[in-house]
């Protein structure tokens, strides 16, 4: 009960408490606010301009920052030179047939690693004891990187499907070379020249360098290149142990319907191309995008190449994801900073500016009120004078 009595008393006191702000003060503040809101004379334009300029500056700087960040993010999406190649050429062969062969993955080594194992003697220099002759074609480039192909395993049967009894159930269709050459220690220079002629007739730029000792071909380096509008391949083959090796260096190529070479191959046996489609459709092959690429990567399974592609896409996605996340974080931070800045402007700067304006408007308001009062007073006087004139006229009329 006491509490409720106290509350009622408190409310009564609150309803009668003296006001802190008088009506006149409120009226003045209201009038000043009206002037400001209507875009009045005193510095309103300046204030609005200042606020607008500040806001515009902040907005423009924020937009510029966001645009720059977007451009940087877009540029980072552009693939750089470090991106791996699109695909690798895959050539598989069939080992079950004497005519067919399976190639394993080859390791490609640059010339610098060949080093001492492969040293050509200078032209014209002959070893009186060994009868060494060096000959090469005109356009042979001695500075090009050479490739040594390791011996491959003929036992790969990945292209063959076996049934439950271990019999061959299904094989991929084997496409033979259009032209095939075997280079052994018995190969002569004329045969090399004939190879070159045939290759060039098929549209292959073919160059070689060979070393013969004791009428035996010991070392051979071949540079072959297909340079067509939509098809560019280059191949470098080097073998420096023909004398000691029973396996020949096999070089060949596949041709299109017009007899032009469209793909080169290397292998000890005849066939290097393995297709799953009908006819001669080799859609399962993946071709290199050359761009000056000299080396082929041979894989015994297409799936390996596809796995590389999948990994590549994953890497790109991660990078892109990181960039996007960073961009989102930066944008969020900028938004928070912008909001803070806007709040700061609203809270302090506007109040200080308005305070200054209020001081300046007080004098103007006083002057305006004085002028208005003077005008009102003048109006009353004029009315009185007119009435008196009218009275005189009336009096004159009545007299008349």
């Amino acid at each position: 009960m006491d509490n409720s009595f106290n509350m009622d008393k408190l409310f009564e006191q609150a309803s009668r408490i003296e006001t802190e702000v008088s009506f006149e003060d409120t009226k003045q503040a209201f009038m000043k606010s009206l002037i400001l809101s209507a875009g009045g004379v005193l510095a309103t334009k300046g204030v609005l301009k200042l606020l607008t300029t500040k806001k515009w500056l902040i907005m423009i700087s924020a937009i510029t920052t966001i645009s720059t960040a977007s451009v940087v993010a877009v540029m980072s999406f552009v693939p750089n030179d470090k991106e791996p190649i699109e695909a690798s050429q895959v050539i598989t062969t069939n080992a079950s047939d004497d005519q067919n062969i399976i190639q394993e993955e080859f390791v490609i080594e640059p010339l610098s690693e060949l080093g001492e194992n492969f040293q050509m003697e200078e032209d014209g220099v002959e070893d009186s004891n060994s009868d060494i002759i060096i000959f090469e074609s005109e356009d042979f480039d001695p500075t090009a990187d050479f490739i040594i192909y390791e011996e491959f395993d003929n036992d790969d049967t990945s292209h063959i499907e076996f049934d439950a009894n271990g019999n061959i159930a299904k094989t991929k269709k084997i496409i033979p070379y259009a032209e095939r050459f075997e280079i052994t220690s018995n190969t002569t220079e004329d045969e090399l020249r004939a190879m070159q002629t045939k290759a060039e007739e098929a549209g292959i730029k073919f160059n070689y360098k060979a070393k013969i000792k004791n009428n035996k071909l010991q070392r051979i380096s071949i540079q072959a290149k297909i340079d067509q509008r939509n098809n560019q391949q280059s191949m470098s083959i080097t073998s420096d142990d023909l004398k000691d090796s029973d396996a020949p260096v096999v070089f060949g190529w596949f041709e299109d319907d017009k007899g032009n070479a469209n793909e080169m191959g290397y292998g000890d046996e005849k066939n290097l191309k393995c297709c799953t489609g009908k006819g001669t459709n080799c859609s399962d092959h993946i071709h290199l995008d050359d761009g000056g690429y000299n080396n082929f990567i041979f894989s015994d399974d297409i799936e390996d190449a596809l796995d590389e592609l999948v990994d590549l896409e994953f890497e790109i996605s991660d990078d892109l994801k990181d960039v996007l996340e960073d961009l989102e974080d930066d944008l969020e931070k900028m938004g928070e900073e912008l909001e803070l800045t806007m709040n700061e402007i609203d809270m302090s700067e506007i109040n200080s500016i308005l305070d200054d304006l209020q001081l300046e408007t007080i004098d103007l308001m006083d002057e305006l009120e004085e002028q208005i009062e003077e005008l009102i007073l003048k109006g009353i006087d004029i009315k009185v004078e007119i009435d008196e004139d009218v009275k005189e006229e009336k009096e004159n009329k009545t007299e008349k």
Partner: protein, 177 residues
């Protein structure tokens, strides 16, 4: 015309100024300067003055606008201004009597109520509006207004009895009577 409108507006406002000022003081205690609320409300009311149906409804019209201005302001605000509250108290200590001190303690207690309850109590107890008028101002039903008043008084009683400083002041007041 503008001058005429201003004079008409101010002539309607002058008699209700005291009630309006007390409402604003109690309503925004500890949140903001009540003069800002008054200025903003008057500007809005003047802007919409042409929509006023009758001069008798000017008081409700003014308070309705004030309530809506506050609602919009609270949506924008993200933090309470404790600094303003402290400055307000310092100012009041320089000029107030004991009775004013009790009132400001009441304001402080009411500040802890919900917005709707606080508004209802202020409009009913301090400003003197009827329940029907309050329902129109707050745009709600009369039963809701009654409920808010009842619950607000219960909660306010709890808050006031909890505060030790108020208990000392109120005891001194009672002894003085």
């Amino acid at each position: 015309m503008s001058k005429k409108k201003q004079n008409e507006f101010l002539s309607l406002y002058e008699p209700v100024h005291d009630r309006f000022e007390r409402f604003c003081r109690a309503r925004v205690y500890g949140e903001m300067d009540h003069q800002d609320l008054m200025n903003e409300t008057l500007l809005k009311a003047y802007e919409k003055f042409d929509t006023l149906r009758s001069k008798e409804a000017f008081l409700s019209f003014l308070f309705s606008i004030s309530v809506r201005v506050l609602a919009n302001t609270n949506r924008k605000k993200k933090e309470t201004t404790k600094l303003n509250q402290e400055a307000f108290i310092v100012k009041d200590k320089n000029s107030q009597t004991d009775k004013n001190a009790e009132v400001f303690l009441l304001y402080r207690a009411m500040a802890k109520l919900s917005v709707e309850q606080k508004e209802c109590l202020i409009l009913f107890e301090i400003t003197g509006f009827s329940i029907k008028e309050i329902s129109e101002i707050q745009n709600t039903s009369e039963s809701n207004v009654k409920q808010r008043l009842r619950r607000g008084r219960i909660r306010l009683r709890e808050l006031l009895t909890e505060k030790s400083e108020f208990a000392q002041v109120s005891k001194g007041g009672q002894d003085g009577q």
